[in-house]
């Protein structure tokens, strides 16, 4: 029982990551009708805004320390971050330690701009083009974006740790009467889970309770009619693209301590996020979230040794297997609407 609870927790956490990525993707699908293969790249750029921000924070000057030698036997270059120099050891290092959470503030404007620029510069010209063209151009864009990141940051993963106070894990098991260490969960992942919940809730509240959101929802249902009402739906859609980019971006920022960012992480998540969105049902935001959690939880269960003993390699295919079963049982995914991307 405890292992099931443990994997349920894991699944919720994984699921919240999937749901966050899928949410942005389905916003773009639903509002703009664009198949955005660059969404994974946006997630990746989000993660790299965290890397950039922590690099900015630890921007350093160099002093030579003659007492120590570097690998060539020359005096060692010791780097001191400017903010440590300015604010002193504790404040400076504290800021650097908190780089990831702080990077969210940095990331949101950057990602809004990235989304805005992408939509205005490229995507808007593809609204009326076939989906195949959209796939090709956004895939091309994704490659270009990741190669740019690779050029500046290299191919290896880059460590971006969570603040020190989130080290270690919380013992749930003890709370509910299990043995020590039976159900533990890292603090940072709990933070991530709560954060994902807030973002998802925020997006839903925004769409539900603001006029802007209502217009966008109406536009998702019937773009032409809303356009006929004299509402400038295009401008709102541009903003939605920016918001979708920001959602993917902050998801990327918060994910960096879990998965050290590398330039191809976007591609790694691309297929998965598409599967999540489609299993949820095209054009359905709650569907995407639901599917994200469902697949996350099932994936966690499939990784249990107790399961793998009977089905070797089940964790390799579980996501796809579930996707097939759901799509066969429910033609439009869990909560999809008729007629969306069925042609």
């Amino acid at each position: 029982m405890d292992i099931i609870l443990l994997q349920l927790l894991n699944g919720l956490d994984k699921g919240s990551a999937y749901a966050l990525i899928a949410l942005g993707l389905t916003l773009i699908f639903g509002t703009l009708g664009v198949v955005n293969f660059a969404h994974g790249a946006i997630f990746m750029i989000g993660a790299f805004t965290a890397v950039t921000f922590s690099k900015i924070l630890s921007f350093s000057f160099v002093t030579l320390d003659p007492t120590q030698k570097n690998f060539l036997g020359e005096p060692l270059e010791v780097k001191t971050a400017y903010i440590v120099h300015w604010f002193g050891e504790s404040t400076g290092n504290g800021l650097i330690d908190w780089a990831v959470p702080l990077a969210i503030l940095f990331s949101i404007p950057v990602m809004l701009f990235v989304g805005y620029a992408m939509e205005r510069g490229l995507i808007k010209h593809f609204y009326h083009r076939p989906h195949a063209d959209q796939i090709l151009v956004t895939f091309g864009l994704a490659i270009v974006l990741q190669e740019i990141i690779k050029y500046f940051f290299g191919a290896n993963p880059i460590q971006t740790p969570a603040p020190d106070m989130f080290r270690g894990s919380f013992d749930f098991g003890v709370l509910i009467g299990y043995a020590e260490n039976a159900i533990i969960y890292p603090y940072w992942r709990l933070v991530y889970f709560v954060f994902a919940g807030l973002v998802i809730g925020g997006v839903f509240a925004f769409l539900r309770y603001t006029t802007f959101g209502m217009v966008v929802r109406a536009g998702m249902a019937d773009r032409e009619t809303v356009g006929l009402l004299g509402i400038n739906i295009d401008k709102r859609f541009t903003i939605m693209f920016g918001i979708a980019a920001a959602v993917a971006g902050v998801a990327g920022v918060m994910y960096t301590p879990i998965n050290s960012p590398n330039y191809h992480m976007g591609m790694d998540f691309l297929v998965l996020s598409f599967v999540v969105v489609v299993v949820g049902g095209m054009g359905s935001l709650p569907g995407a979230v639901l599917a994200g959690f469902l697949l996350g939880i099932l994936e966690s269960f499939a990784s249990m040794n107790q399961v793998k003993v009977y089905f070797p390699g089940i964790d390799q295919i579980i996501i796809y297997l579930v996707a097939i079963i759901i799509l066969l049982a429910r033609p439009r995914g869990l909560m999809g609407r008729a007629g969306v991307m069925e042609e």
Binding site: R129, F139, Q146, V278, Q316, Y320, I324, G333
Partner: protein, 411 residues
């Protein structure tokens, strides 16, 4: 001839001419010259051009005609390759049975996947095919290692059975052949004849010509399918399934047939790949490989006959030629520039070649799709039209402009 309309006959003859003369056409630069880097006339790449051409032609029968976007076509390529290599390991090094088995097995696999996936349309269909292919890849890479040799890929071994050829004892691996070397010499896939003219060197490879002939046959069959009533129905599926149903046509068997045919094309390509180089890697089935097929087809021009072949050639050229350009080569090219400028130019070009070949490819995808919505073929057509207009202007005749009646079957 060939029971084709004049336009198609011309197209077929042009393609045949280009494919058969490829060893010359792809080798325009003299050996040792700075531009020799851009030569593509060596056996492996030429084989890849035509084999991936076959793959793209087959994919186009499904996607170009019916509009069903399969995102898992690489699975059939992989299955074809595995079947072929197993044939080499168990039966004989002759490529014919291997290729036949590859086609049959991939056809059956396509029947199974198609039967299930075609219950859905649009993006739901795409995701179903993607899911099947990804499952195939993941399992082939891990659990099925005894069958697929996982990470490394299935390859020949000294202790293979090879019932027909007999156990080999001399400690070297045999190579794939069309006719057993005991009968005729010179029909091994890797046999290459070298022709030197001046400082040009041309390579004529048995494997290439076998692939080329099979590619021409595949192209011819595709041409016939495009022009057939069956092809007409497939195009009708793409434009309006409702009307087709209310016209008494059952669309499922049509789409399934198209899916299986295109799966068999992919299997044939996989079998040929394995025949040219007897190794079947699991990466052949990964979603990126499926994506590459989609990109080839759209890049060249989906729905056109020759477009996918051009798209395939384009991507393979970048993969094999641009990735090999390194700084030493660049310095060789720009050595005539003043030193500082040379370094600056090399530094700049360096970003786009060698390890940056992905960047160039991605950028070109974007440029092509932005400026040439119909793919590379449209670019060709525009140039041709420019040419034609000039010509007709010169003659002073107002040539009647044919309405672009069927852009899908335009060459």
């Amino acid at each position: 001839m060939f029971n084709l309309a004049k336009k198609d006959r011309t197209l077929l003859l042009i393609v045949a001419g280009m494919v058969l003369l490829a060893p010359f056409l792809l080798q325009p630069f003299a050996q040792g010259s700075g531009m020799a880097q851009f030569n593509a006339g060596y056996p492996d790449l030429m084989q890849r051009f035509v084999i991936f051409g076959i793959l793209a032609i087959g994919f186009n029968i499904l996607f170009g005609l019916t509009g069903y976007l399969s995102f898992g076509h690489a699975a059939f390529l992989g299955v074809g390759s595995y079947s072929a290599v197993w044939m080499f390991k168990l039966l004989s090094m002759n490529v014919i049975p291997a290729i036949l088995l590859a086609i049959v097995v991939s056809g059956l696999f396509a029947l199974l996947i198609g039967y299930i996936s075609l219950r859905r349309s649009g993006i739901y269909f795409s995701i179903l095919t993607l899911a099947f292919a990804q499952m195939s890849f993941n399992i082939a890479y891990s659990v099925l290692t005894p069958l697929t040799n996982g990470e490394t890929g299935l390859q020949l071994a000294l202790d293979d059975v090879r019932i027909l050829d007999g156990m080999n004892t001399n400690g070297t691996l045999p190579s794939t052949n069309l006719l057993p070397p005991s009968l005729v010499n010179g029909f091994e896939m890797r046999d290459t004849y070298h022709l030197e003219i001046g400082s040009w060197l041309f390579q004529f490879n048995t494997g290439y010509y076998l692939s080329a002939i099979i590619m021409l046959i595949s192209f011819y069959i595709a041409l016939r399918i495009f022009r057939s009533p069956f092809g007409l129905m497939l195009r009708a599926v793409k434009t309006n399934q409702t009307r087709l149903n209310y016209t008494g046509i059952n669309t499922r068997p049509y789409t399934l047939a198209a899916f299986v045919i295109s799966g068999m094309y992919a299997g044939l390509a996989g079998g040929l790949l394995a025949s040219m180089d007897p190794l079947a890697g699991a990466e052949r089935m990964q979603w990126t490989a499926s994506g590459e097929i989609v990109l080839m087809t759209i890049l060249g021009g989906a729905g056109t006959l020759i477009g996918p072949v051009i798209g395939a050639g384009f991507i393979k050229y970048f993969e094999n030629i641009f990735s090999k350009i390194n700084d030493t080569v660049l310095h060789g090219w720009f050595g005539w520039l003043p030193d500082g400028m040379e370094d600056a130019v090399v530094w700049f070009v360096h970003i786009f070649v060698g390890k940056g070949w992905h960047l160039t490819l991605g950028g070109l995808f974007m440029l092509v799709v932005i400026f040439l919505p119909g793919g590379l073929v449209e670019g060709g057509q525009r140039i041709m039209n420019l040419f034609k207009r000039k010509k007709s202007d010169g003659a002073g005749t107002d040539k009647q402009h044919h309405p672009k009646s069927t852009p899908h079957v335009a060459e």
